[in-house]
Symmetry: none
Subunit: 215 residues, 4 copies
């Protein structure tokens, strides 16, 4: 069934504005990007959350970051079973095709996906336990993080679980042979970050202390 509606006017107007200004002023660069193809230095794996703009935080130019965004910035375990794996395909393309030098996993505060996982694991959201719940089955990736949560108040445990989404993704990344090989060869480095939306803070995962350190 073919179905589509015209774009809302306000987006059409904004596009025309962009074309007449940002594009017009850098036309040569856009043409070169089109002709030369992309040569991004880094892949970023971040959340779909509308409040997270990695290009803004890092002052990124067009062409700098290869960006995959999914719920809760998760990397599933390596599982080459012949089915569709969007995240794994993006990873394979970035590392083997584009040969990026960095993979940055960017978590954030107030993550709805992480909250869903928390509720599901603590029995507050039985609908997410349904085998047909896509969100539930996706958030299963984060279950091991919930099981290791220390006791404490919910806000603190939620924050810890948000950071676990970064650490589990980093760990799953190393389960992809093409990732761990590139890391061992010194051609790729992995980075874990957690961003506090309200405070604008950024913390980096430190593997030695297994904790997060503010910049």
């Amino acid at each position: 069934m073919k179905y589509a509606k015209p774009l809302p006017d306000y987006l059409v107007r904004r596009y025309h504005g962009w074309k007449a200004t940002t594009y017009q002023e850098s036309k040569g660069w856009y043409r070169r990007l089109a002709e030369d193809g992309q040569h991004p230095r880094a892949m970023v794996i971040s959340c779909c959350d509308s409040r997270v703009h990695v290009t803004s935080i890092f002052g990124a130019d067009q062409g700098e970051f290869f960006i995959h965004r999914n719920i809760a910035n998760l990397v599933p375990p390596h599982n080459p079973d012949g089915h569709h794996h969007g995240t794994s395909a993006a990873l394979e393309y970035a590392v083997r095709g584009l040969k990026v030098s960095h993979i940055i996993v960017l978590g954030h505060s107030g993550c709805g996906g992480v909250e869903g996982c928390y509720q599901m694991c603590s029995g507050e959201a039985p609908e997410l336990d349904d085998p047909k719940s896509f969100v539930g089955r996706w958030m299963d990736i984060l279950r091991p993080g919930f099981e290791e949560l220390p006791k404490g108040d919910k806000a603190e445990r939620m924050r810890t679980l948000e950071k676990a989404s970064v650490v589990i993704s980093l760990s799953n990344l190393m389960g992809f042979p093409f990732v761990s090989d590139a890391v061992k060869d010194g051609n790729l480095s992995l980075h874990g970050l957690w961003h506090d939306i309200g405070e604008g803070a950024l913390e980096a995962y430190d593997a030695e202390t297994d904790g997060f350190v503010p910049f």
Copy 2:
């Protein structure tokens, strides 16, 4: 295995710059975004390609678009089999959780994923036929588009296939019951776009003529 490296210096400096300016000037807004949670009007499904910045093209503010990015902006068919489905989870969260009013599928020129599909289907890239190729298995979603390509020169066929990645995604979207129900109820509309990176052009899918029309 826990592994992570410090972020490259130039990104740390750029982050500090962002914190002291963009964040500082709109601190109140960031705090409200954190407290109120996100209320995006639209979900965008675009490619991971580093040259596609949907927030730039549409002058997006923090909080406006819920953005999922994967290789070739593909939506796989509805398949609730209990496995991890990143794209389907993002969709479910956007439509059922956030109740977005629009889903915009944004394709683009020079898409490396689409080119891979083209090569795979025409026998030029046997490595993508390997059951263990994540990129190959992901691009299987676009196979029906290759089979319907008209004869012609490669550049034209490639462009047609890029646009097919949008149309097939729109069609697969309607296979998700929560999507088609929301469309039928008038609560959701779907939009297909194709962006020419070098020329800055934007074309919209028109369901009536089953073709793309420039803005």
Copy 3:
């Protein structure tokens, strides 16, 4: 005659520090830069002055800017006479070889070369009039700027002359056929900036008003 001395110790130590940290943390990126070659978006023409670090001001990553630095950020008039022309060679390489999309001419406050020109033109530095003075003959490029200076106090006239070094360079740039052709084709844009070292200010040349405007 072959002559060279060992590098001072403090630089050897700093190099070893860089190698063990900055290089080590981004080894993969350095290797890729070496294999893929450079794809800079912009050429920057700035002064040799030790206080002007364009990579710092613009948070530049390795590979972003093709940088030519000479006394007073000057572009001489187009003069293909078969002799050595370092600036013209750098321009030709950037525009025809690398196909950069932007050329940024960056002037600055307290420019010693501009001051030399001022003194030479006002008769205070006869040694610069000597045909054998390399600095004098290089600063001849800026003479037309001196002749158009409004009356006023010396500090103000010096600042105006510093800005004239940017405007004259922009004008000379357009005298290179490969530059003006690329500008006309929309593949290249030119930008003039003046930087106040002490205040950290940056002003941009605006062609419409023929003046400089602070950011």
Copy 4:
């Protein structure tokens, strides 16, 4: 003809970020640099190549290095013929005006200018033989290096020629009376370096053995 375009947005934002952080944190130092003028210890002559950041390799502070950058870090022979000589002017200013104590010539791997010279001299790039080719006429400075290349494979010969660009520049430097006088008086020392971009290696020219030695 007056022509200029506004600076791309991402650079404007990055500048504002720099101003609010790096500049703000060291405002006093920037003001002193502005008031006292520059007193650099060394002049560096390096290539325009976007991958060579001498300030990074040597952890340079603002005010430390007077930096001239041209294609292939070349110093032309001393030739006071009354024309514009950008490199010679920079040299004269550094040695006679600023009285620097060191001149460092920094060559590097994968130098496009050196490759152009190689192709021109071996008949592969006739367009560079054109008297109007600025790049060709500039690379003529390196011709004597090509003529002395030992037989061998191209990659090895290219690397030897890159190092010859450093040695020829050192030799031409000594042809400038104000340079050789300062060297003889013990007020100036010259240094030749070659940098491997991919490996992060640095080699120093040793006049006694007429070869390069890794650090």
